[in-house]
Symmetry: D2
Subunit: 395 residues, 4 copies
């Protein structure tokens, strides 16, 4: 039996788009109200206010109406002005990609880079800032998804705060899946989205903005206004008595509310534990099959993504193709510099379930074996299961 | 980590209710039309006509508006009259349960029974009929779900046909998951439902009726009329120009249409192969862990249900509880005489995916081990995977 | 422009099936859980307990898993025994139809009938009971939908209670749309459903049972057991720790919970006011066009259905056909004795919105005019609107 | 009775967001696939290819993943370069608003403006182009929604084509509701969206691009790349074998496919007739109540929006507030220069149903009367109905 490309897959264990929670899908299917209907205005305000204690930014979070690539571009364009020197912390493809966005509006970009299987050392950030006291904005990516690595963002944020620069952090694929918020990250511009660990479809961005960041954006003459790239235009749009700069994505907002309600009802700590355990089980299974993680140190590995180094001689695309064709399971490729060199197993939102680690390990091992790289799938699954069971037994 | 009873399970691998296909859920959410609206009348006729080539009864299939227990009771009450002698073929709890229904209206019930881990031998049916030439109705259960066993219904049907009795067959939990239809079963009253292998929620029954069965029911003075138990009242209700005896379950009919469309688009043979492979992989995994199937012979085992004998000393309910609490996986218990003695893993509709055999084997093995009955889960999963891969490699 | 039979209608203003609330449709699309999953068991119990303060029966309401025609048949079969004399109060087609159900199990049926545009006089009930002190069960239909008339059920119930007979009341199409519950009706068996004024699709019944009715059913040797017609089998099924007699209609139960939540959130009094105002506006519009209501006295008219007498010379089916073809609006015909003699405009659940009275009046008047029976549609709509506005201005 | 701001409205008759078709809502609720899953890649290509014969652009239409304000900004930024002189045809608020977008990248903007209740005269465009032979881009808004007026875009397009300039046309709120496509408009950049007359929620844009426009954009050094504003990045993204520049809005794409299928199944001509008749009926009703349309000439009036001049002494916001509070009907305000001066009744997608003209007229008239501006609602509704009936009788 083969799953044809035209067959629905059984399980999407990707790093995004991720499968949405059923309640989110039902939320998307709610009647579409006029954006200025009082019921929708109240919904919009309520959604932003529900996000506030989760994002923990100094001001009520802002929604932008496009997937987070919009928010990242808007953030760069709004926060960074012609006089700014930006320190860009690069431990992966996404952080590197920010350079292009930042470069459009900054005076200079200083890069602190490490190999893409490493993470940024806060001490190195301190050094870099000491070397360049003129740095006014520091940009970082918390979870560089194409590497499956997590930077020590709280420690980095503390360093940045001491320096006095503004801190722009991308937490798109970590927020909602682990303990991260604007406050603990010392973030001035906390860029995230509901389309990863909150289990929504792509189509919205969430921004947590500090008072300083608002002041900086308002003072920035090049900050977009009357543009899809404007953050400033949306500053007060969460208030039911203020206008929208343009029509918000009504259905996506309805879906987001369902996602927030699920998240709060389950409890963030419990959600994070579910992600962490899934990732630990997955890593154990992968390692037990004699495979290597992409992160140079397991301590760098993300709880929302397990990046597996592609064994020598294996075509990574063929491997994922085999995983889908044999088992109906969909995994993510690498991106850019990591493309072809690793496969990513997502643990995000509804797919962050420990038993899915078993599915991923079995499917990955089975496909590898089929491609001639024989691994002990039984050992892999047993190791994954042992992690799940150990956690439970210690409950 | 534990899945609390109030947490949503991750995967429902039961023998029904089974999780519905997403497209069926969306079908259920279609606007509810007036039953006599021409659009709904046309839908209703179309649904029945789409069922015709699948059920392969001599006349257009009839929908009854309750889950199949309604159809079974209606079938007994409608087909069996005071003068009828019924041969009831009992290889499990459901077939035995039919005795109660048949007994309300028949002159006598003759039972041909085998242990519940066996199946009915067509030769024994021939003997029984030879011994009792006055038998006018033979009743059988194709897949006695509480045992996970499949009776050789085509062979039995041929015997019954030679005898000349009417043949009433329950295929509720096999139809749509394997090659079975009214024609091949020589069935006069083919009782099934969409809530198992077609991937609908419970709420409807499907009946395939032969010309002889219609004649018999019409001639039966005790056949219900003006009753929820009437089949006769619904005989022509599939026609858009005929009235409904009472209000049909509009939403369930919409869901059923989506299910039929999925089934036909995927292709019945492909659907059956998916069920069969899932069951084979599951059985291999169970056996590789040193466990025993409930069916006395693997040849009896259903492609839609894998019934696993509960090891000595294990509390079956506790076992399923552990499977859910640890892994979020839901399995079915036995019923009646098989309750406490076996656990059932369903492979029905959307859950009949080979990779789910891996999930089931891992979860079952993990929970058993946790309860003190140590099994080699790795070996189990490897065996399940080997079956999946063998099938694929032979493609 | 014509709406073809194959075009979706714009608005379904029928007396059932009625369009479901959007939130109910989304509820139907929830994942289908195993009925014995603890999450579903808890849902089932919660739904029944949420119904309790609405139905106000002495015991927790019972769900039956078929549309209310099942409940009515089950009620007759369960409550009425071979020794019972039933007084059947007949003011319409549905009450008359109950005779057939009651007749299967009772010793005798005594009928108190009035023309179908009248309602039952409680004094006449008292007389009838005085004349037949052996009456043990009284049956009534609160809202005889095919007539659009409401019987004074509380007063009748008080008479029955004084007599000491058991009181079986059908409130299928009034419950949820006006002030009616088992307590105020003095009902021992309160038969209703969610598929009318609660805005669910057809597929479930709700029963409110008094302690006396349970005792009577348990003492009744002919009360069905192990049957779809059994109420007794389901007595304790609402409890999460008790088994289901057979598989409940999971999706419909999920839909029902959404309906109850909507009803309670809006507030029953507000819901009833919405129904009542819609009906008043509709009646005003109909009368202002010179047409006649079916009920002989406007005081008899239901707040959930407006039955309009078909003018002389008009083909009622053609009239509804024209309403649909011209305006995309679907209305209900009469039934049985009222078929062809009246058209019914439903005000039930989501369609009980005052502005829909305007739609109904305009569409009805427009179609009549088109068929040659000229009416002043403008006057009709103005009158309907005046009622709506008067209500609002008096707020 | 009052509909509170927290109550769901009954009917949303706005100019957008408009209520989505039920099938579109169900489409949105489809499983969210990985964007690189072959099944989604095929869906994406199929959706674009299904749009091709509707948009009739020279090349396969492009989707952008934000509501059409994104497409308009992207169009201006991509098509217009530093050397371009833009002739902006201004007959309303939206066309005027394009000036700001165009001004960011053009050498000069020449404006041809008319009062906002008028439309652009093609002869005036010819004159303007004759006066300024250096104009390289002409921008127009087909349906300037805040005025409810339709420009003669085919005639204007022919003039532009003769001149040789590129023609950028905004048809966001007309496409799908009347006969308009890139070919008939002679449009080089045809900017539209599915969130008006196709009945989708806001969240996507559709662009039809001519070969010349692609060439121009590719040659434009300031055309955005690696930006949410880039059209060029998405040029080939419709092809299943090409990458997405960033994650597309999966759910919205699923919803769009459902919308296209509905549109094609019903038939564009029939859909347009439904819009046109609704608007005609609505206008007739408004005029019969002695009110004035906003367009100076009824020939300018849009088939997708009826803009009604606010009578002297009436507070437009209060008027809409009253329409919602009394009848549960939601209407749109004006925007910018038309705000406070007119109310808009939308006829878009699922709300373009003739009977809704009756609702709108009745609700509008009733609310006006309540606010002290007495109108003859009966006459209004009768006039609206007469238009519907005349159309039908002439069928």
């Amino acid at each position: 039996m083969r799953y044809a490309p035209s067959d629905s897959p059984v399980l999407t264990l990707t790093t995004g788009p991720v499968d949405a929670y059923p309640a989110v899908l039902r939320g998307l299917a709610s009647p579409v109200l006029y954006d200025y209907d009082p019921l929708f205005l109240a919904t919009y305000q309520r959604v932003c206010e529900k996000l506030a204690p989760l994002v923990k930014s100094q001001t009520v979070p802002v929604l932008l109406h496009g997937e987070p690539v919009l928010a990242l571009e808007a953030a760069a364009a709004s926060l960074i002005g012609r006089d700014d020197v930006v320190l860009n912390l690069v431990s992966g493809v996404y952080a590197k990609g920010f350079e292009g966005r930042a470069g459009r509006s900054s005076a200079e970009i200083v890069e602190l880079a490490v190999p893409y299987d490493q993470v940024i050392d806060p001490a190195a950030v301190a050094e870099a800032l000491a070397a360049r006291p003129d740095v006014t904005v520091v940009a970082a990516c918390h979870h560089d998804t194409p590497s499956g690595t997590i930077n020590p963002i709280a420690e980095i944020g503390a360093v940045v705060a001491r320096h006095g620069a503004l801190f722009l952090v991308d937490t798109v694929s970590s927020f909602g899946g682990m303990a991260i918020d604007a406050e603990s990250a010392h973030a001035d511009l906390f860029v995230t989205g509901p389309n990863k660990c909150l289990g929504c479809p792509p189509g919205l961005s969430i921004l947590g903005v500090s008072e300083r960041a608002w002041a900086k954006m308002e003072a920035n003459p090049s900050a977009p206004r009357a543009s899809i790239l404007s953050i400033l235009d949306w500053r007060d749009a969460w208030r039911a008595d203020r206008p929208f700069p343009f029509t918000p994505s009504v259905a996506e907002v309805n879906g987001l509310e369902a996602a927030i309600d699920l998240y709060v009802t389950e409890g963030p700590e419990k959600v994070w534990a579910r992600h962490a355990l899934t990732a630990r089980a997955c890593r154990a299974g992968i390692l037990a099959m004699g495979l290597a993680l992409w992160p140079a140190d397991v301590a760098f590995a993300s709880p929302t993504t397990t990046a597996v180094r592609t064994p020598e001689g294996i075509d990574e695309a063929a491997l994922r193709g085999e995983v889908r064709a044999r088992y109906g399971v969909v995994l993510s490729s690498g991106r850019g510099a990591t493309a072809g060199r690793l496969t990513r197993i997502g643990h995000m939102g509804p797919t962050a379930q420990p038993i899915h680690a078993v599915v991923a390990v079995a499917a990955f091992g089975g496909a590898l074996t089929a491609l001639g790289h024989r691994v002990d799938v039984g050992a892999g699954v047993a190791a994954a299961l042992a992690v799940i069971d150990a956690d439970r037994d210690g409950d």
